[in-house]
């Protein structure tokens, strides 16, 4: 049962970016008891508007395995970091045009150049920051935590 629930939860995707919560580093742990599942999540930003949807999707995934289980979703009050994204998550993000900042400059997901210009602190969503690649001219978003933006990651 535990394995089936973990497998189901590992497939739950972020509501906006088609990458799993597990690969984004948002899904932190799963605890399965006889009649209850506790799912620990960590938001990329405190005000992430996808949180309610994530809770519902996580609950749906557990109930698809066993509709009688109680599901408790807890949000961890700790800062999400880019390092929380798995290698598979980074590859999936790159495929759909996102960069992930890992302590160095933003790498253009289209041409691989590290010569990109930051276009501000805020992009199309709280956890994204806009860049323009000086090499190929592409614009792209980087998944970026507040700590990385401040140089504290």
């Amino acid at each position: 049962m535990t394995s089936a629930i973990e497998d189901a939860l590992a497939k739950v995707e972020d509501p906006e970016v088609p990458v799993t919560l597990l690969d984004l580093g948002v899904l932190r742990s799963v605890t399965v008891d006889a009649d209850r599942v506790v799912v620990l999540l960590r938001p990329t930003r405190l005000g992430c508007p996808g949180r309610d949807r994530m809770e519902r999707d996580v609950t749906t995934a557990v109930h698809a395995v066993d509709p009688h289980l109680a599901v408790e979703v807890a949000w961890e009050p700790l800062p999400w970091r880019e390092q929380d994204v798995t290698p598979a998550g980074r590859a999936a993000l790159k495929d759909i045009g996102y960069a992930v900042l890992l302590g160095g400059p933003a790498r253009c997901p289209y041409c691989g150049s590290e010569d990109a210009k930051s276009e501000g602190e805020f992009g199309g969503a709280l956890c994204k920051a806009p860049y323009t690649c000086r090499s190929c001219g592409s614009t792209f978003d980087a998944m970026r935590s507040a700590l990385a933006a401040l140089g504290e990651a």
Binding site: R45, G47, R51, D52, P77, L126
Partner: protein, 248 residues
């Protein structure tokens, strides 16, 4: 709920300013700024909810707190709710409130509640990003003599409204459980110093900022606030269809 009147009053500021900033998603400056305002507004609402949670107010109580509380129980600073400000005034008000929140956050001390400390640290990081955003706009205004004069005028007007930033709600005693024995006058002075620094680093002459806090006044005596609250309640939809924390 714990007794934290100053922090709860600051949640009024965050919630109301989040509402006002959201106007700029459609009251266009430019596309990038509209996106930024959507994010800053969302984070203000989330930070207010997190701080109200730190005051041991549950999700349903927080919802009632913003949607059902009578105007006479709101104690916002005038900086947070004045509607339909122009962009330079919006930047001045947002800068003042952002610097104030960073001062307030730095005094949140609950060592026996690590969750609150962790939330306070996340709020600090996210508001630091806002601070960079507003400081960039101050530099933009400072770089053009005409804009600098206009912005300086808005800063001077905002300074007159900032006198209650660290004032307790009128008739309510301290201390505030989240900031402990910190003297509100010390926080007001810290705010004045930090804000002056941001302005002068950009080349804007800072006015004398109020360094002695005055009590925050109740909302039922302030006409623009009652209008804003009516707007908020309209946004909630028939039968309370829209909750405060839609992100949860």
């Amino acid at each position: 709920m714990i007794h934290a009147p100053l922090v709860v009053a600051w949640c009024d500021d965050l919630f109301l300013q989040g509402h006002q900033l959201a106007r700029w998603i459609t009251d266009y400056v430019d596309l990038e700024e509209s996106l930024a305002m959507g994010s800053v507004a969302q984070e203000h609402l989330a930070h207010a909810a997190a701080l109200l949670g730190a005051c041991e107010m549950n999700e349903y109580e927080r919802d009632a707190h913003v949607y059902e509380r009578p105007a006479d129980q709101w104690f916002p600073s005038a900086l947070s709710f004045l509607p339909r400000q122009d962009w330079p005034a919006t930047v001045a008000h947002a800068l003042f409130l952002n610097q104030g929140l960073l001062v307030l956050r730095s005094h949140v001390q609950l060592p026996d509640k690590p969750r609150v400390q962790q939330l306070a640290e996340i709020i600090r990081a996210e508001q630091d990003l806002h601070a960079r955003h507003w400081a960039r706009w101050v530099r933009v205004f400072a770089s053009d003599p005409e804009l600098a004069d206009e912005f300086g005028d808005r800063v001077a007007k905002a300074a007159g409204m900032a006198v209650d930033l660290f004032g307790f709600p009128a008739g309510v005693d301290g201390p505030d459980a989240l900031v402990g024995d910190t003297d509100p006058a010390d926080m007001q002075r810290e705010w004045a110093k930090a804000t002056t620094c941001v302005l002068e680093e950009a080349g804007i002459t800072a006015p004398d900022l109020p360094d002695t806090p005055q009590p925050r006044q109740p909302g039922d005596t302030r006409e623009p606030l009652t209008q804003v609250l009516a707007e908020l309640r309209w946004a909630r939809g028939p039968g309370g269809a829209n909750r405060y924390e839609v992100y949860r």
